[in-house]
């Protein structure tokens, strides 16, 4: 029962989260359409990642979103700095090739980071294990040197 309940809870929270995002998007669409347009265009990779990443915790989506948002944030801030916020201005800013490159490139970097990080961690863990093994073997050699073959016989018994 517990896992089912937990699943329900997760599903409920996910549904709530999706709903809150949609509600925020609708609110944003009504209140600040240029910001909405900038975010909608800039965060397209993140939205795709959230849609396709079905893994628990959606790590890939989080990686992509983090860097993707870092790429969108300067343009968003620039949009807010200029007082006349219009859909045209926002569209003009967003669809500049450089801006798109930065926003989507940052999302790509996030994806690359998602791909690169596990092998790096695996190497670190392997190296650490090797070092521990050699340390233990050295200790064992010292014990045999002190206690002789009787130690091995006793351990084997």
């Amino acid at each position: 029962m517990a896992p089912r309940g937990k699943g329900k809870k997760t599903k409920g929270r996910g549904a709530f989260s999706g709903l809150s995002i949609i509600a925020s998007a609708v609110l944003l669409f009504v209140v600040a359409l240029p910001t909405f347009v900038t975010l909608a265009v800039g965060l397209l990779p993140s939205m795709a990642a959230f849609i396709f990443d079905r893994s628990p915790g959606r790590m890939m989506a989080r990686c992509v979103f983090g860097l993707n948002f870092s790429g969108v944030a300067p343009y968003l801030l620039e949009l807010w700095q200029h007082g006349a916020q219009s859909v045209g201005g926002a569209t003009q800013h967003v669809f500049q090739p450089l801006a798109l490159s930065i926003m989507y490139g940052a999302a790509g970097l996030g994806w690359l980071m998602y791909l690169a990080m596990p092998p790096i961690i695996a190497n670190i863990l392997n190296l650490s294990a090797q070092r521990r093994i050699s340390e233990l073997r050295k200790n064992q050699r010292n014990l045999i040197k002190t206690w002789g073959d009787s130690l091995i016989k006793e351990v084997d018994r």
Binding site: G57, M59, F65, A122, E154
Partner: protein, 710 residues
């Protein structure tokens, strides 16, 4: 089985009849005195050129003194190195017969009127035997032997027998009985004149062999004569008085009573007529001796003359008349193997001599009926019927149960007689000496072991009437025998029984047997000598030595014996052996035992293994040769038995084993967790990437805000 039993009986009887060969140890059979003992025609009497020093004496090994041979022992000329009178001779005992410890201790250096003076005794190498043996040093009697070669007897006037013979012998018996000892070698051929005039006699040796061993059969009481010579037992004062009676008879007659009869005939006539009637009917006793001989030869020990009656007779007073034969005679006979028996004692002897054929009349109840109707002895009949009933519960080993029935029946018929089991026949107080004789004369310990394992002695004790402190004392001694016999490991078995029962039994270990080790203090010097050429693989303690130490040492070595039960555990086995030897050295010395120490050191390898630490082992292995050179077993033992060091070594070893095992399992875990680690790396990597991404986003936003503000 029946044929085997018969063969065994026949073998036993033929062994008993062996002639002594006294030029080698183990001539062993009782001497046929007087003629055989000192009329050896082919004997070379040397000139005394060869001599050896034993203690304070010089013994001439080629200068025999046949006139002082005593029983089975030969006499040699000797000089005292500390005394000038020179009236000493050496009596060389047979090394395969145990001497009498209690008598040697009591008589050595003590003068008792009527007893030959035992000056000293010592264990020494005796060249003709090629081994060590016990040598007794006696003062030469001034008057020579009372009965010499046949036809040349120096007769004692029958009127003088009281003062010349009885008084001195009574003095000896009184002195011995005060100490709870018995002589058991009182016979006419063992008498010497104390002076040249023949005014008094003295008794010869009584300590050179098992009690009663050299006594002619006629000198043994009806109870003890059925026993084999080695198993006749220490006996009591009553047995010595009986022998005194027969001695008087022999002196009175001028030759040994019933000498023309065979042993079997003597037994038969004594059992059927009673001892006195048997002698009186065949020999002509001097009138003056009839009364004491009759009194002393009474077959009932309670009615036999004691000191008071003898004193009365010496004083010329008359004493109460004695019955000739108090044994109840049946109205009809009981037949065993074609021979008729009328008394219970003779029937007991008949059963023992016809072991296999006696079973049928016992089983079919004819003996029981004979006891009830022929003798009117319902008590014995009931005891026999109880024994029969126990046969039916005897279990699977029917033959053994039948043997037990026969042995018990004999005891029921003759409760004062010897324990008889197949060919074995020994008094309860002679079991130890009988075992010693059997072991050293090729018969082996099996007969004794069978007797003890089947609890025949316990049954014998159960059949004794009234309280007798001597029997109670014996009962205490025999309490442990069954346990010893049942234990198969070193330190127990028949060997333990032997050394426990026979105080002067020398150690029979093949390593040191020729050294004649009687006292525990002689053990290590003998082993030291053997160690010079000992094989590397052999152990210095075998079954005999272990049992000898367990019996003779004051300290308890049961712990060591327990450890020796498992020879495959070399560590404990070697430690137990070294421990036992070390205790003996600590108690009895000597301080320096270099050869034995080197021998022990070679065998210490398993004991050194008890230490796990290589450093400790190396230190001990370096120390061992140094200590071995000093010849101290105690130090060697302490080296491997430092309990504190051992405990420390053990606890450290246990920790080391645990540490090694933990390391091993951790290495195994690390080596076998590659895929798990990859999975973990995947998860952790993704989490790290997500975290980093989020951090970058936060930092970027924060930086942009800050830039905008400032």
């Amino acid at each position: 089985m029946a044929e085997q039993a018969e063969d065994q009986v026949q073998d036993a009887s033929s062994d008993a009849g062996q002639e002594p060969e006294m030029d080698r140890p183990g001539g062993g059979a009782p001497a046929q005195e007087p003629a055989a003992a000192f009329t050896e025609p082919a004997e070379d009497i040397g000139t005394g050129g060869k001599s050896l020093e034993i203690g304070n004496f010089r013994v001439f090994t080629d200068l025999r003194l046949p006139e002082f041979d005593m029983g089975h022992c030969k006499a040699y000329a000797a000089d005292s190195l500390s005394r000038s009178d020179g009236r000493v001779f050496a009596l060389v005992t047979d090394p395969v017969l145990p001497t009498r410890y209690d008598l040697l201790r009591f008589l050595a250096g003590v003068h008792i009127g009527g007893q030959i003076d035992l000056l000293d005794h010592d264990v020494a190498y005796w060249p003709p035997f090629g081994r060590k043996t016990m040598v007794l040093f006696y003062e030469k009697p001034k008057g020579g032997r009372v009965i010499i070669a046949s036809g040349k007897n120096r007769s004692i006037d029958e009127q003088d027998i009281a003062s010349v013979v009885v008084e001195p012998l009574m003095n000896v018996l009184q002195a011995l009985s005060e100490k709870g000892l018995t002589h058991r070698s009182i016979r006419a051929t063992n008498l010497f004149f104390a002076d040249a005039e023949g005014g008094a006699v003295i008794l010869g040796d009584c300590a050179s062999g098992p009690p009663g061993f050299d006594q002619p059969l006629v000198y043994e009481t009806a109870a003890r004569m059925a026993s084999e010579p080695a198993g006749r037992g220490v006996g009591t004062l009553a047995d010595d008085l009986y022998a005194l009676g027969m001695t008087l008879a022999e002196l009175g007659i001028g030759r040994r009573p019933l000498a023309k009869m065979s042993d079997q005939e003597i037994m038969d006539i004594k059992l059927s007529k009673g001892s006195f009637q048997a002698v009186a009917s065949q020999e002509k006793l001097p009138l003056v001796l009839i009364e004491p001989v009759r009194g002393l030869l009474s077959d009932n020990a309670d009615e036999r003359w004691g000191f008071s009656e003898l004193h009365a007779w010496l004083d010329g007073r008359r004493t109460k008349p004695q019955q000739g034969n108090t044994e109840k005679r049946a109205a009809r006979s009981q037949n065993i193997s074609g021979k008729d028996y009328y008394t219970v004692r003779s029937l007991a002897q008949g059963v023992s001599k016809n072991w296999v054929n006696a079973l049928a009349p016992l089983r079919d109840g004819s003996v029981e009926i004979w006891l009830r109707r022929g003798l009117g002895d319902n008590d014995r009949a009931k005891a026999l019927s109880d024994a029969m009933r126990q046969l039916q519960w005897g279990g699977s080993d029917k033959r053994a149960a039948e043997d037990v029935l026969i042995a018990r029946s004999i005891i029921i018929l003759d409760p004062k007689g010897p324990i008889r089991f197949k060919g074995f026949s020994a008094m309860i107080d002679g079991l130890g000496n009988m075992l010693s004789y059997d072991v050293q004369h090729g018969r082996g310990p099996q007969r004794f072991s069978d007797v003890v394992a089947r609890e025949i002695p316990s049954f014998w004790f159960g059949r004794q009437e009234g309280f007798n402190p001597d029997i109670h004392k014996l009962q205490q001694v025999y309490k442990n025998l069954r346990y010893y016999v049942q234990q198969k490991s070193a330190g127990y078995g028949y060997e333990r029984c032997l050394y426990s029962m026979v105080r002067n039994q020398h150690c029979l270990s093949p390593m040191i047997e020729k050294e004649y080790v009687v006292d525990i203090g002689q053990l290590l010097p003998a082993l030291e000598k053997f160690a010079e050429n000992a094989a590397d693989e052999s152990w210095p303690v075998d079954r005999h030595i272990a049992a000898f130490i367990a019996s003779r040492l004051e300290d308890d070595v049961e712990g060591q014996l327990m450890a020796m039960q498992n020879p495959s555990d070399e560590v404990e086995y070697s430690r137990a052996i070294i421990s036992m030897l070390a205790i003996v050295q600590w108690r009895h010395g000597p301080d320096n035992l270099q050869n034995l120490s080197h021998w022990v050191a070679r065998l210490m390898e398993p004991a050194v293994k008890v230490f796990h630490s290589k450093a400790r082992r190396e230190r001990i292995e370096t120390e061992i040769p140094k200590l071995a050179k000093r010849g101290n077993l105690v130090e060697l033992y302490n080296l491997i038995n430092d309990e504190q060091e051992r405990r420390k070594d053990q606890s450290e070893f246990v920790e080391a084993v645990a540490e090694y095992s933990e390391a091993e399992s951790e290495v195994f875990d690390l080596e076998s967790s590659g895929s798990a680690r990859l999975e973990m790396a995947e998860t952790v990597g993704q989490q790290a990437a997500a975290f980093a991404s989020t951090m970058i986003a936060l930092l970027t936003v924060s930086a942009l805000f800050l830039m905008h503000m400032f």
